[in-house]
């Protein structure tokens, strides 16, 4: 009967498998390090320092205490412009100061009736604005955010970070403190016709407060 010879008890370490395993561990730790760093990263969101003088903005967003917001843009200007013309025709017998008061009252009433939106509509409005801005890199928008004192400032950050995500960075923003009452109590709301930088005539809404 034939017996097998005794096997060598000192077998060689399988280097190929060992290297495989080490590489897998190495890749695992490399990936893990990256993930850990991503989760703790602090970032900086720049906001222009407000200047206390008459300013211009294509869009004004006034936040309200109940979470709703007032959104004033070209559409609001068009609404007011139409009303101003009608008032001028119908109340031509009034003195200039009375006519101005009448126009301001009517304009404010329309602005506050037609341009206050629910909190859940904010995202849609911002998306729409970004879509327009992204479709034309040469366009530039300045959005002015007004917020009451009590609002947690992360709500402002939420809006600004969305505006900051414009593809061509052509939506600028700024924020100031202020309440809806400032607009409600405005003594002068009017539509002024000005020329833009391309020389085109534009109707602009002017609210003094």
């Amino acid at each position: 009967m034939a017996f097998r010879t005794k096997e060598n008890s000192f077998r060689k370490v399988q280097l190929v498998s060992l290297i495989d395993m080490i590489f897998i561990l190495l890749v695992f730790f490399m990936v893990t390090v990256t993930v850990v760093r991503l989760t703790i990263k602090e970032q900086k969101l720049p906001v222009p320092t407000p200047i206390s003088e008459r300013g211009r903005a294509q869009i004004v967003i006034q936040l309200l205490n109940n979470g709703n917001f007032l959104w004033l843009d070209d559409h609001a200007t068009a609404q007011i412009s139409k009303v101003m013309d009608t008032i001028e025709k119908n109340y031509s017998y009034l003195s200039p100061s009375e006519l101005n008061r009448k126009k301001t009252e009517e304009a404010l009433s329309i602005l506050l009736k037609k341009n206050i939106f629910r909190k859940d509509q904010m995202e849609g409005k911002l998306k729409h604005l970004l879509k327009i801005a992204d479709s034309d890199p040469s366009s530039h928008y300045f959005v002015l955010l007004r917020s009451p004192d009590e609002i947690p400032y992360y709500e402002i950050i939420n809006i600004m970070q969305k505006l900051n995500s414009a593809k061509y960075q052509n939506v600028l923003y700024g924020c100031v403190g202020g309440r809806l009452d400032d607009i409600k109590n405005s003594q002068n709301v009017k539509v002024v016709i000005e020329k833009d930088k391309n020389g085109r005539r534009r109707e602009n809404l002017q609210i003094d407060f």
Partner: protein, 200 residues
Amino acid sequence: MAFKKQNELHDLEFPSLIDVIFLLLIFFLVTMQFSITTDTAHQTSTKPPDIQLPLAEGSENVAMDDIISTLLFQIQYKEKNNPNSPRLVYVLEPFNGDSISRGEAFMIAKRDSLFAEFPQNFLKMKDQEFKNTTACRLISNAIFQYKAEHFHKPSIENTVEIRAEANVEFKIINYIMQECSAYKDTIPRVIFRTLAKTRG
């Protein structure tokens, strides 16, 4: 003279290869440990208490983690994670113009009493009354002093940073911005510190 013919095909030096790989492995292991330590280091005494920053995407990364390179106002709750407790403001700034870690700046602010508490009813205060609070005067003086010492001419690089709990009221933030606006072009930007959204 007899020459010994050398073997042209050497075997791969596996022990050296494994040494190098192990070194890399240990390096990454150690690096990962440090990252985690940084994240949870608020438990140590040299770190300021961590605060819940608002989340934001698309903002610029902070160049180096936890380094203070300009005037920074840190606004936090007096009691950790309690939004009903009073708000505290800490003035953190580089030491003698050199960047320092946020932990060190926080310790210096504590040591030099560069912090103040906002009154509980600050939201109901009128503007003038609010401006006269210790916290507002601290903010105002810090901006004035820092501007005088460091912002000698208008530049986009002149910034003041705000690092605040996400639920801090806009009134405090707005006050800091208004104080900066007093210097118009000299401080053209205020920077909000935010957290990047996590990916896991």
